[in-house]
């Protein structure tokens, strides 16, 4: 890869991490002000994990994510307007206002769901990889899941199926140190989630989840392996969730230890910016990206605010291919 193309890629990684951070910061603020209904689970602190993984994928590769769903589509390159509109429950939202914060899934970017039942993406990922293989497509499927989900059977059924059938799948455990309020050590037996790969006879890789280049390199190796027909890999990104499990719950449920400040000192965006500057990319260029991203986020919020809420009929659409009838007694009071 030429030096300039390499720099373009690195700047794109920076841009996507900034997008996530600024999107989340804004979302948290307007959620606090009551503009976003429901629970809001933010991805701040974990940007290098999602962006590094997605930058190793092609646009047509598949991805399945989690209830902490905002970061993954942005990492894969999704436009911000439909994502922000979804948070506000608007009809222009990526899910037409029926998914909300836990389900920001953009299928046009290869997403097959951001699913809010912990661990439930495992079997879907194996199935997508199987479907790609059966159709002779050289696509891979990547499953994001958390340290909490590593205790769910569904994740292990997905990994076992992918391993016995040598499917082109990558399982990325984003270990952000907490399953809601429970520290990883209290919920996950053994030192590392990645160690569980050995039970399936597949590679288990641990990577610094705050280093976007390192995550991308690890996932790229797994993607190459998968595309070559050699089967799945389990990668554990060691990362950190800055906010509480869900934001604005009134009190912080997450038990922060002395390592909290150490994690904050290793902010993935600050670290990456320093590396880029050290490698000769000008700080003012990066400042300009920060400003562009701020404008994108403001534009997305403006779009979301100006968008309409879904018509009531939308509640009855997409249960099946054909829209369901609305019962008279319900319509009368809708």
């Amino acid at each position: 890869m030429s030096a300039s193309r390499d720099n373009d890629r690195r700047i794109e990684k920076y841009r996507r991490m900034q997008r996530i951070r600024q999107f989340e910061t804004r979302a948290e603020t307007i959620h606090a002000a009551g503009e976003i209904p429901g629970a809001l689970h933010t991805y701040a602190g974990m940007e290098a994990s999602g962006v590094g993984a997605c930058m190793a994928l092609r646009d047509d590769d598949y991805m399945v994510g989690t209830h902490r769903s905002h970061g993954h589509p942005i990492a894969k390159g999704a436009k911000l307007r439909p994502l922000m509109a979804e948070l506000l429950g608007k009809v222009t939202g990526i899910c037409k206002g029926k998914g909300g914060s836990m389900h920001l899934s953009d299928f046009s970017m290869g997403s097959l769901g951001e699913t809010s039942i912990v661990g439930s993406g495992g079997p879907v990922t194996a199935g997508a990889a199987l479907g790609a293989k059966l159709q002779g497509l050289d696509r891979v499927a990547l499953c994001f899941f958390g340290d909490g989900a590593s205790s769910e059977g569904a994740i292990h059924e997905g990994m076992n199926l992918a391993a016995v059938w040598k499917l082109p799948a990558i399982f990325v455990c984003e270990n952000n140190r907490f399953g809601m309020s429970t520290p990883t050590a209290a919920g996950v037996a053994g030192a590392h989630v990645a160690d569980r790969a050995h039970g399936y006879g597949i590679p288990g890789v641990i990577v610094d989840g705050q280093d976007v280049d390192a995550v991308e390199a690890a996932v790229r190796e797994a993607v190459d392996r998968a595309r070559a027909g050699k089967g799945p890999t389990l990668i554990e990104t060691k990362t950190y969730r800055y906010a509480d499990h869900a934001v604005n719950m009134g009190r912080d449920l997450t038990p922060r230890g002395p390592e909290h400040d150490e994690w904050l000192a290793r902010d993935p965006i600050v670290l990456y910016r320093a590396r880029l500057v050290e490698d000769g990319i000008s700080g003012s260029d990066l400042d300009a990206i920060d400003v562009q991203v701020a404008e994108e986020v403001a534009d997305a919020l403006n779009f979301a605010r100006e968008s309409a809420y879904p018509a009531f009929e939308e509640a009855f659409d997409h249960v099946f291919v054909d829209r369901l009838p609305i019962p008279d007694d319900v319509r009368a009071h809708a």
Binding site: C95, L112, S120, P123, V124, T125, D317, F320
Partner: protein, 332 residues
């Protein structure tokens, strides 16, 4: 037309649809060895890629069918016995039923989950479930429960061609029963269309799956007592053909809902409630359910068999509704 069994109908429906559409493939536990005869010669005919033995991992491979469907395949999952669906409730209810909706129509889920109702054969409570009504309570899943080979083949072919997820509940009491089935490769029965299996004027019996055949026997015996019974088979439980049921009840003024499932929240309960809500003015007697009581199914045949809907229980219910006296016991 050829006379074939219910199991042969399943075999033919799958084979014809796999021939027709290369996106269709089948997976499940031990399907290559063809335990029940529904995949005879499939490996030789379609290859191991499209005929896949799975690990004993229902949540895994049923969810994988969802993932494969989302990327363009049309999977058939053979979950064998319907009790084995319970470990997969997660993927069926949270992923397969809801993904099209929750993502605003972005997800496509054309897949079929087949399983049999394996009751009445001393397999005890963990292998004898008839759980379709549990899935009727979950929007997003179409459900078929055919009562004979003709309907089985036509509905299963329609299910495989349908763009929504369909659960096929196959009644093992019907497995070896033969009926005439068209040879036409495009013979399909539209989902959501019931059928009147026998016409009558005094009482409507709406029966589910294998109970249809019991109801038909009861109707024949009741004829000898001067009671004319109409037997309605919804065939599809979701979407439910409410019109055919209500039309029949408006004609007869009496309804018995017969269902091999447990009584509470059974398909019979839903049908009875629909009749009470929509055809109350036509009723000349209360709507009655003949179901399996809300106890588990025991192993010992002497105490298992009497729990299911039977010809005698349907006859008793019909006599009660028309006000006919029960027959006197014959002197020994």
């Amino acid at each position: 037309m050829a006379k074939i069994t219910y199991l042969e109908a399943i075999y033919q429906a799958q084979a014809e649809e796999m021939d027709r559409d290369s996106k269709v493939f089948i997976m499940g536990e031990d399907i290559r060895c063809n335990v029940f005869g529904t995949t005879t010669g499939f490996v030789e005919r379609f290859g191991e890629e499209r005929v896949r033995d799975t690990p004993i991992s229902e949540n895994g491979f049923i969810g994988a069918a969802g993932g494969a469907a989302m990327v363009g395949m049309r999977p058939i999952v053979d979950a064998t016995i319907s009790s084995f669906l319970f470990p997969a409730m997660d993927q069926i209810c949270s992923i397969i039923a809801k993904s099209r909706y929750i993502y605003g129509g972005q997800a496509q889920l054309p897949l079929v989950i087949r399983s049999c109702l394996f009751y009445g054969n001393s397999n005890a409570a963990q292998h004898s479930d008839r759980p379709y009504s549990m899935f009727m309570n979950m929007p997003g899943l179409k459900i078929i429960a055919p009562s004979n080979a003709h309907d089985m083949k036509g509905l299963l072919k329609a299910a495989i061609r349908d763009d929504d997820p369909v659960m096929s509940f196959e009644d093992s009491t019907c497995w070896m029963v033969k009926s005439e089935v068209p040879d036409d490769l495009d013979f399909v029965i539209p989902l959501g269309k019931g059928e009147v299996k026998r016409e009558g004027t005094d009482v409507t019996v709406v029966a589910i799956a294998g109970a249809v055949n019991i109801a038909l026997k009861a109707a024949e015996k009741l004829k000898a007592e001067g009671i004319s019974v109409e037997v309605v088979d919804p065939r599809t439980l979701v979407p439910l053909d409410r019109d055919i049921i209500l039309r029949s009840v408006r004609k007869t003024g009496r309804a018995i809902c017969v269902d091999p499932a447990h009584k509470t929240c059974s398909a019979a309960s839903e049908i009875a409630a629909t009749i009470a809500e929509e055809a109350f003015e036509a009723l000349r007697a209360p709507v009655v359910r003949v179901t399996t009581p809300d106890t588990h199914l025991p192993f010992s045949p002497h105490i298992e068999k009497p729990l299911y809907p039977s010809v005698e229980r349907i006859m008793d219910a019909a006599r009660r509704l028309v006000g006919a006296p029960a027959p006197q016991p014959q002197p020994a």
